[in-house]
């Protein structure tokens, strides 16, 4: 009944088969969408935000599923691995407990059993004016992300100026993955490449990242643990179901026997892309000064708008609360 839900469906069984198909479809200029767990995609189709002619399920690509950990603690997590699988993996929890914690806070148990880590890295940005039905979007004027000419969040925005769209970045996993120095393995019929997660996402709610049209995220790779201890905390009014109104990952790593050698911060939920900073103790007169600088950088980054359950001023204020609390959890009272 809904136009977005009428599409051809196919399910290739290998990357090779997928590659051949993508090459064909690209050459023909065909309209398609790739689907993994589809927990982000299906609501968009139902709302008519996208109405592809063809859905290509990645579900048959078993080679994209699973968690491999080598003797040095390097991890390769297949992009199609479900969040439930990751949250339940005891080896991964021993190595990277913050990743387990962040993944376990995504949505709800039924969704985590379908949703994939690749999908969470690539999850679409959200805005209270775009994640709406056709009728609601007709009640307002179509915004940039809906192909229109206005932004209801930044009324002065004009086409062509970046960021074009202030839709929020809402991945719970990415802040932790950033602090784990994650790399993404991207595959297309043209070949395979490896990019750092840092810098992969763009400062724009529409053109959100570096993934090419015919590219597939096949794996998230984590280097051997660097000794960075990581804390992830999420602001949401409920303990499950909700996207982060703010998510803060904080990492503390010793350098040259200084437990406060490096402070890393990554934010989600508060801007168009993840915020990410690293501060070296050596550059500051004190650990407290380093922490102050981390707070200041995060607050400056957060161009927060009223497009969430919580008002913008509150979310901005919570950045500092969340960073300082995480710092206390990781470093105790020794920050002074």
């Amino acid at each position: 009944m809904n136009a977005g839900l009428q599409f051809e469906f196919e399910r290739p069984q290998s990357l090779a088969e997928l590659g051949a198909r993508l090459a064909q479809l690209s050459a023909a200029g065909a309209d398609y969408v790739l689907a993994a767990g589809a927990t982000d995609l299906m609501p968009q189709l139902k709302l008519g935000l996208r109405s592809p002619q063809r859905m290509i399920s990645l579900g048959g690509l078993s080679e994209l599923r699973g968690i491999a950990i080598d003797g040095d603690g390097r991890c390769r997590i297949g992009a199609l691995t479900s969040l439930a699988t990751i949250a339940a993996d005891t080896r991964l929890q021993a190595l990277h407990p913050a990743l387990t914690a962040a993944v376990a806070r995504v949505a709800s148990a039924p969704i985590r059993s379908r949703a994939t880590l690749g999908g969470n890295v690539l999850v679409d940005n959200r805005c209270s004016f775009i994640n709406q039905s056709a009728l609601n979007r007709a009640a307002h004027r179509p915004c940039f992300k809906a192909g229109g000419e206005v932004c209801h969040i930044v009324k002065s925005a004009q086409r062509g100026k970046l960021p074009q769209c202030q839709a929020r970045f809402v991945s719970d996993s990415v802040p932790v993955l950033l602090l784990l120095d994650a790399e993404l393995r991207l595959w297309s019929p043209r070949g395979e490449r490896r990019v750092a997660l840092a810098g992969f996402h763009h400062d724009d709610g529409i053109e959100r990242h570096d993934l090419a049209r015919d590219e597939v995220l096949v794996a998230i790779e984590l280097p051997a643990p660097t000794g960075r201890r990581i804390d992830y905390a999420k602001l949401a009014v409920r303990a499950n179901l909700d996207f982060p109104s703010l998510g803060v990952a904080l990492g503390l790593r010793a350098i040259d026997n200084d437990a406060f050698g490096e402070l890393a911060v990554a934010l989600t939920g508060i801007g168009t892309h993840p915020g990410h900073w690293r501060h070296r103790r050596a550059d500051f007169p004190s650990a407290a000064a380093m922490l102050d600088a981390a707070v200041a950088a995060a607050r400056d980054f957060a161009a927060s708008y009223d497009q969430d359950f919580f008002p913008r001023d509150y979310r901005k204020r919570m950045i500092e609360v969340f960073i300082r609390r995480a710092a206390a959890r990781l470093g105790g009272a020794a920050w002074t």
Binding site: M1, S128, F129, A139, L235, R238, Y314, V321
Partner: protein, 794 residues
């Protein structure tokens, strides 16, 4: 303990297994042969004139069988006869985003969707009125020109009793505060759905997810211009209502009209967003309340000035306007009392009745003010509330008849179990405990449509095989009313629960019952069922006597108990049917274990043999029971609002943890004392109380329908924040062991009353935790934090 086998025992609902195994059929699960799919085209404008509608292309689409616009309906409708202001499809103007403007019925949903897209509507948008304050302003273009007013006021109610001004002047403590409330909605599980079956003679059977089959029946006949006997309304299993399904709706009129036009069966179902458009939720409210308090006397005066934002149409709004004031007449005496409540029309989905109808929002204000007064007076807020509760068998200043009040004992027990005395004022900063009380009607004594018929009638049959069938027009909306009716029949007739079948909410098969609203079913349909069962028992005993060669017992003329409370000199009508809150049936027989035993002689007979003896003459045993409320109330204008044969009383004690840096409030524990008289099914009562708590906690802390330019921006359960199970605390429930003289077996309501005190109890606990008073709902973390910062800055 009372000598009951079935009532008073926790019973799983009789349809529980069907529901959890998926066997239960809801309105959209039915499969009528060859049904057309209906879809509704809705307005994208909050306020606009309709300059033209062109349906020719839609009607010409192959597979389309009927297309309707506002021109196809002559009459508007509404649940209250005094505000029949809603069209099935908008005519001339649209009044909210989502209002139905046109509808189609087609061979399948895809064709129907294509047809909708082919309907061309020319709108001329007009400036919308989006809040109640704006709606008070003079305008030459009101939402409802037919009222011939120069503004958007829908209803204004003012009442005054005693001399509040003098009482305030004399009161040692006077507190006045302003409170604000967001819109909240019912969020029932099952979206609205309706299916219409049409027969070869043009008669309609309408299967609808409704709390009020009788009112839907009447409205359908009137709007469609059909004789009432041509319409039959059936309520299948229903997935929650909470007041959101207690009106006749446009979609019911539309589906029925489509069936009449096409001559085909029609199916229509709502999306979750459609439910938010339909709404009928709690009114966004702004109010100022003033409390006068004297530690020696209690409340000396209470006044309120209340503004409620009704949305585009009337619904139950006139009742809501009264309830916002009159339901402040409990749970404590208020000797001097005045209020003004105004309901405004705005360009938003309409508000209506929602669980705790009209009594929830003012209760937040009155119980916060009460807490402030008790704190200022240096009294213990819990003990003082117990001391101040209404006395039994008294009249309020607006002449509500207060009969049973069982809360005193219950709240004393809740106080003990919650550790109140050890905790109140003694917990560390950030942790707190708070209490609040409330009361609610056990059914409205007056019908919506004035007539002299009983409000509830139950028919009961008993056949040769021992099958007992209860025919009741009451709607089980998930609260378990079918179960409670079956329990009473089984109790009285001495059989097990599974021998009783309930046929309910089918306006062709079941006698008129006004419906499931205002917490009336257990009290009113329950009394009718109990009386039908007692009459059936007499037929059965007569059969047993015949077989056993005994003479039939002589039944004494029923007498009300010695402490029965007559209001003024009025004779209560129900005395004719009165059989007591604690009936001993007065027949000298025991019915149990498949036997009927004469207690005096010890002679006994198989239960089924007695049936066979009794049935020889009539071929079937059949009885009828009724309930009609006693004549109640004063003689002033608006005296009927809030009249009930009985009132429930509730208190909640709530413990919270408040994070002073984030403002986040976590409810750690709730202890409830509820006076529902005799708990017929304690399991269901507990379920209702837990549900009330969850709903109250949602309104207290996070729920809010957000509008932008009139459009609902969070029409789904991701962004409309209902608390998840993770937010639900342990809930300890104390049920009063009292009984009400007039309730069936002594029962009163339990489905709505427990909600209202939840919200102020949380607010009062926040005050105990961190010393700030919140006066706006929801008490979101940012508001708690802002209040803390403001307090810190002082």
């Amino acid at each position: 303990m009372k000598p009951y086998r079935i009532v008073g025992q926790p019973q799983a609902q009789i349809d529980a297994r069907d529901k959890v195994t998926g066997r239960a059929r809801y309105a959209d699960d039915l499969r009528l042969p060859n049904a057309l799919h209906a879809l509704i085209l809705r307005s994208p404008h909050a306020s606009a004139r309709i300059l033209g509608i062109d349906t020719t292309r839609a009607a010409a689409l192959p597979g389309v069988r009927a297309v309707l616009t506002g021109a196809d309906f002559e009459r508007t409708f509404g649940v209250l006869p005094i505000s029949k202001d809603e069209p099935a499809l908008a005519r001339e103007r649209v009044r909210y985003v989502g209002e139905p403007v046109a509808a189609v019925a087609a061979e399948n949903a895809e064709i129907a969707a294509q047809a909708l897209a082919l309907i061309a509507i020319e709108y001329e948008p007009t400036p919308p009125v989006l809040d109640a304050r704006h709606a008070l302003k003079p305008t030459d273009d009101p939402l409802h020109p037919e009222l011939k007013r120069g503004d958007n006021l829908h209803k204004q109610v003012e009442q005054r009793f005693g001399d509040p001004d003098a009482a305030f002047a004399a009161a040692p403590i006077v507190i006045e505060k302003r409170f604000r409330y967001a819109a909240v909605t019912h969020a029932f599980t099952e979206p609205h759905a309706v299916q219409v079956e049409i027969d070869g003679r043009g008669n309609l059977t309408v299967y609808s997810a409704t709390q009020v089959p009788h009112y839907v029946h009447l409205a359908l006949a009137e709007v469609l211009g059909l004789d009432e006997h041509r319409v039959r309304v059936v309520k299948p299993h229903l997935g929650g209502g909470f007041g959101g399904k207690s009106d006749p709706f446009p979609h019911e009129m539309i589906a029925a009209k489509l069936a009449l036009v096409s001559g085909r069966n029609v199916r229509l179902r709502f999306s979750r967003e459609d439910v938010f458009f339909s709404h009928h939720g709690r009114h966004p409210t702004e109010l100022t309340m003033k409390l006068g308090f004297d530690p020696a006397q209690g409340i000396t005066a209470l006044t309120g000035d209340i503004l409620i934002d009704g949305g585009a149409y009337g619904s139950f709004g006139v009742v809501t306007t009264y309830y916002n004031g009159v339901l402040l007449q409990g749970p404590y005496p208020v000797p001097n009392f005045a209020f003004r409540c105004r309901r405004l029309y705005t360009n938003k989905p309409m508000c209506g009745a929602m669980r705790g109808h009209g009594g929830v929002n003012p209760r937040f204000a009155s119980e916060v003010l009460m807490d402030m007064a008790l704190t200022e007076a240096g009294l213990d807020p819990c003990q003082a509330r117990i001391d101040l509760l209404h006395r039994e068998n008294t009249l309020t200043v607006n002449e509500f008849r207060i009969t049973s009040v069982g809360l005193k004992r219950g709240l004393e027990e809740a106080m003990r179990r919650s550790g109140w005395r050890e905790k109140y004022g003694k917990l560390p900063f950030g942790r707190g405990i708070g209490v609040a009380c409330g009361f609610f009607i056990s059914g409205s004594a007056l019908p919506i449509h004035w007539n002299e018929r009983p409000g509830s009638t139950v028919r009961m049959t008993l056949e040769f095989d021992g099958a007992i069938t209860v025919y009741s027009g009451a709607s089980d909306i998930g609260q378990g009313s079918d179960t409670v009716l079956a329990m009473m029949a089984a109790e009285v007739l001495g059989v097990e629960l599974d021998q009783v079948k309930v046929v309910a909410a089918d306006t062709r098969l079941t006698p008129v019952d006004l419906g499931s609203y205002s917490s009336r079913v257990t009290f009113m349909a329950g009394n009718a069922a109990r009386n039908a069962a007692i009459r059936m028992r007499r037929l059965l005993v007569a059969g047993a006597c015949r077989k056993l060669g005994l003479s039939e017992p002589e039944y004494p003329q029923p007498q009300p108990p010695a402490d029965f409370f007559r209001q003024g000199q009025r004779a209560p009508d129900f005395e004719a049917d009165y059989l007591g809150a604690n009936p001993d049936y007065r027949d000298g027989f025991e019915l149990s274990g498949g036997r009927i035993r004469h207690l005096a002689s010890g002679a006994d007979i198989a239960w089924l043999d007695a049936v066979h003896a009794a049935i020889e003459g009539p071929g079937i045993l059949q009885t009828v029971g009724n309930y009609r409320a006693p004549k109640l109330g004063g003689k002033f204008k608006g005296a009927g609002a809030g009249l009930s044969p009985s009132y429930s009383f509730t208190a909640f004690i709530v413990e919270v943890t408040v994070d002073p840096e984030t403002g986040h409030v976590r409810v750690d524990k709730a202890t409830c004392a509820h006076d529902c008289g005799f708990a017929l099914n304690p399991l269901a009562v507990r379920g209702q109380i837990e549900g009330c708590f969850h709903m109250g906690m949602g309104q207290a802390l996070m729920e809010e329908v957000v509008h932008e330019g009139g459009a609902v921006q969070n029409a789904g359960f991701l962004e409309y924040k209902i608390p998840s199970p993770f937010e639900e605390p342990e809930i300890d429930i104390v049920l009063s062991d009292g009984e009400d003289n007039e309730g069936p077996f002594g029962a009163k309501e339990a489905g709505e009353g427990p909600l209202a005190p939840v919200i102020p109890a949380i607010a009062n606990a926040i005050f105990d935790a961190v010393g700030v008073r919140l006066q706006e709902l929801p008490m979101r973390p940012d508001r708690v934090l802002a209040a803390l910062r403001k307090a810190g800055a002082r």
